[in-house]
């Protein structure tokens, strides 16, 4: 591959988003969303997206997001009109199975059957989820511009559903060993149907190149397997004995249990690493119009750190904000006398303070997640990309617009929409 790269005809991608303006935008739109009992969220999401898109700057020209809040609102109305009956019935059925099989964890088998039934009904929504995800991606691409040229995707959502279900089945039956095959096949399907103007993207390579990205997941599974062996190495532990506080001879089982926890944590980190590494490998094998190529050197640890520290920061920041707002409102509320049998209070201070603090926590948490997690991750991904043979981009011509009435309504309704 490297021989095809021109050494001079490259373009880099920069990310110009900053913390303060994004925080201001996120807090303001979060507040508006609260005040409008949630109905501003379509406009809020659109505005934040406009900000993120405009911060990603390939070759000095920013991306544009041209979706509108009203469009998203319309998508929501359509999703509600079409999906609500379906989802309502599913939900009642799930609840019915939950209730009829209600046990207080007295039998493991009962719990198992309950869980199985639960997921059985939940599985009915799976095809719909894949359909919605493909359509949402197509909508977002159709509303993305660069240099005045539209991106786009072919309408091929049902084919995607079939492919996704087939690959999921293979992954499940091979106990996850063929996860890279699933990842690659789906990404190839999406990429090969994506366009920038009249130029088509292409996903090269094959799924085997993603195997190295699975390394940490394999290690995690190994640790868990070892843990199980250690746990049962002295025969089945006597739980009666443990319940009576008699821990003699339980040292080995305890080691096994701790080891298993380690394996589980390792597994989650492994999944995150797999996500980043597979994205990077596949980006390196993407081409546009057969001439423009990409390389990415996105760093896994940067992305994981953004999650860990960003999450921590969001929690602490939101907690402090909640305390300040809560105390301030509580002080104001303490001048409002109330008379109620329900609470042992003579003024509304504690109640108003608690509610205000709770709302402040939610709004600040959402905003700081955008600033401290989403933005650093987007920055990492975007600025890692180098475009090769960039001058070929000048030849690309406009494509027709894609009228898309339902926007991402279905994906949002099924809660499988984009992170921002």
């Amino acid at each position: 591959m490297d021989t095809e790269f021109s050494t001079t005809d490259t373009a880099t991608v920069s990310y110009v988003g900053r913390k303060k303006p994004l925080l201001r935008l996120a807090l303001w739109t979060g507040l508006l969303t609260f005040i409008t009992v949630g109905f501003y969220r379509f406009w809020a999401r659109t505005r934040v997206r406009k900000y993120f898109w405009s911060a990603v700057t390939p070759d000095g020209t920013p991306l544009e997001y041209n979706g509108t809040g009203l469009e998203k609102f319309l998508g929501f109305l359509i999703a509600v009109a079409v999906l609500v009956v379906y989802l309502g019935i599913i939900q009642i059925l799930l609840l019915f199975f939950g209730y009829s099989l209600f046990t207080q964890a007295e039998t493991f088998a009962g719990e198992f059957v309950q869980t199985l039934m639960f997921y059985g009904v939940a599985l009915v929504t799976l095809p719909l989820i894949y359909y919605a995800q493909y359509r949402a991606r197509r909508y977002i691409l159709s509303r993305t511009r660069w240099r005045g040229i539209r991106f786009g995707a072919e309408p091929a959502a049902w084919g995607y559903v079939l492919l996704a279900l087939k690959n999921l089945l293979v992954t499940v039956f091979t106990l996850g060993i063929l996860l890279p095959r699933q990842t690659f096949n789906l990404e190839k399907y999406r990429t090969d149907r994506s366009y920038f103007g009249d130029a088509q993207f292409h996903q090269g390579g094959d799924w085997r190149m993603l195997r190295p990205a699975m390394k940490q997941i394999y290690i995690a599974v190994g640790i868990m397997a070892l843990a199980v062996v250690v746990f049962f190495s002295k025969g089945l532990p006597d739980f009666e004995q443990i319940n009576h506080g008699d821990m003699e001879g339980m040292g080995v089982a305890a080691t096994g249990a701790i080891l298993f926890q380690l394996g589980v944590s390792w597994f989650y980190v492994g999944l995150a690493i797999y996500g980043v590494a597979s994205w990077r490998i596949m980006a390196n094998h993407k081409t546009l119009n057969g001439t423009v190529m990409f390389t990415s050197h996105v760093d896994t640890s940067d992305v994981i750190m953004a999650y860990v520290f960003g999450g921590l920061l969001a929690f602490i920041f939101a907690l402090i904000a909640a305390l300040i707002v809560g105390v301030a409102f509580g002080f104001i509320g303490s001048f409002i006398p109330i008379d109620t049998y329900e609470f042992d209070l003579d003024n509304a201070g504690p109640i108003i303070g608690f509610i205000a603090g709770y709302v402040a926590f939610l709004i600040f948490f959402g905003a700081v997640v955008l600033v401290a997690i989403r933005q650093p991750i987007l920055r990492n991904y975007a600025s890692s990309v180098v475009i090769h043979n960039a001058s070929a981009l000048n030849e690309i011509r406009q494509r027709a617009g894609d009228d898309f009435v339902e926007a991402e309504g279905f994906a949002d309704a099924l809660d499988v929409g984009a992170a921002f």
Binding site: G17, R18, P21, L22, L25, T33, F34, T36, V37, G38, K50, Y51, S54, A55, T61, P62, E64, T68, L70, E71, F73, L74, F76, L77, I78, V80, A81, V82, L83, V84, V85, L87, G88, Q91, I92, F96, Y99, S100, L101, F102, T103, Q104, R145, R147, G148, I149, R150, F196, D339, T340, Y341, E342, V359, L362, N394, E395, I396, R397, Q398, V405
Partner: protein, 368 residues
């Protein structure tokens, strides 16, 4: 200064090729030169992209939605442009879009109404019958622990009043009613140390009376009336149906409102909506059940009617009384129905409790 000169990048909306252009900004709008020809975009037509990450510079386009763009990166130039009267941030909504929103908005409303008021109630009423009773009992016991935990916080053990004689009196009262109907549920009655005038039933035969209710009553038959009412809810499986309905609707309301204030607010909303519309029919049926039991036990339902009337009188004189029973809009109607169902009238009857037992019940929360 009647105009401002700067430079920009022009994209014609047909190719991805950038053309560097000299730009002139004035009150009339912007114009730029391509291959010796000056092109003008009038001010009334000029729009800029908003919520952009760059704080200097601006992406300009025209209202007619062609994809041509003019990018200016000079802060002084954009400041100058903003200083003129402009429509840079105005966006027109097409009539076709307005119509779509109106049509789909109506459809969405109809759909939500259909599911919340027709499909979910019908399904929960039907499916509730197929839940095995022992599961319902287990569910009720679990729910009871949750309720105790939510109401009492840390003083968990003291929430249920356990005055020994009061408990005996309560059991005697419950037995007098229970002897007059068949049910598969084990009916457990307890009193919560709470000032509210209220009572409720959870799935599987668990019934709770609040201390405030017992104190507000003037005779044991009034409490027996409330107890009969709650037994009616239990036998009709109302708590189970209600919890299925509110849980079924909570998810849908979550879909409609998003999580603007966390799941908490949506749940509260669902509860409010459900209990308001559930009560009409279910409350009347529970009252009728109570009247029937009273008739079979040869008790005067008129006493039950009196209780509603005290509550009404109290609400009139003291507006701050937080009594969910009293807040029921049709209190007088319920009193009338109870009086009409009375089969004892002025005749004599065996009281539910002796005066000693009644005193013990009223003090059930003191002894413990």
């Amino acid at each position: 200064m009647d105009h401002f000169e700067t430079s920009g990048s022009f994209y014609d909306g047909e190719t991805a090729n950038a053309t560097p252009v000299p730009v002139r900004i004035s009150a009339e709008g912007v114009s730029f030169e391509i291959e010796g020809i000056w092109i003008s975009w009038p001010m009334s037509d000029l729009r800029c992209l908003q919520d952009q990450a760059r704080d200097s510079g601006m992406i300009l386009e025209r209202e007619d939605a062609t994809q041509a763009r003019l990018i200016i990166s000079d802060r002084a130039a954009t400041t100058y442009l903003w200083s003129w009267p402009n429509k840079l941030t105005k966006r027109k909504t097409t009539n076709a879009m307005k119509k779509r929103v109106a049509v789909w908005g109506t459809a969405a409303f109809a759909s939500v109404g259909l599911i919340i008021f027709v499909v979910v109630p019908a399904m929960s009423n039907t499916l509730a019958r197929y839940i095995p009773i022992e599961r319902e009992i287990a569910l009720g016991e679990y729910a009871m622990r949750q309720i105790e935990w939510v109401i009492s916080g840390d003083r968990e053990k003291k929430l249920t009043c356990n005055g020994e004689n009061g408990q005996l009196a309560l059991e005697k009262m419950a037995k007098r009613l229970k002897d007059n109907f068949e049910t598969a549920y084990p009916l457990n009655v307890r009193v919560f140390r709470q000032e509210m005038v209220n009572a409720f039933a959870v799935p599987g035969g668990q019934i709770v009376l609040f201390e405030g209710l017992i104190k507000a009553a003037k005779s044991p038959e009034e409490i027996a009336g409330v107890l009969g009412h709650e037994f009616g809810h239990t036998v009709n499986r109302d708590p189970t149906r209600l919890s299925m309905r509110s849980a079924g609707s909570a998810g849908l309301l979550g879909l409609v409102f998003g999580d603007f204030a966390g799941g908490f607010a949506t749940l509260a909303l669902a509860e409010a909506l459900m209990s308001a519309n559930y009560s009409q029919e279910a409350e009347t049926n529970a009252d009728v059940f109570s009247h029937e039991i009273f008739a079979r036990a040869e008790l005067p339902a008129a006493r039950f009617a009196n209780f509603f009337e005290y509550l009404m009188a109290e609400t009139d004189t003291d507006g701050s009384l937080m009594a969910p029973l009293a807040s029921h809009p049709n209190l007088q109607g319920r009193a009338d129905a109870a009086r009409a169902a009375d089969v004892v009238g002025d005749g004599s009857f065996t009281p539910v409790l002796t005066s000693l037992e009644w005193a013990a019940l009223q003090g059930i929360c003191k002894d413990g």
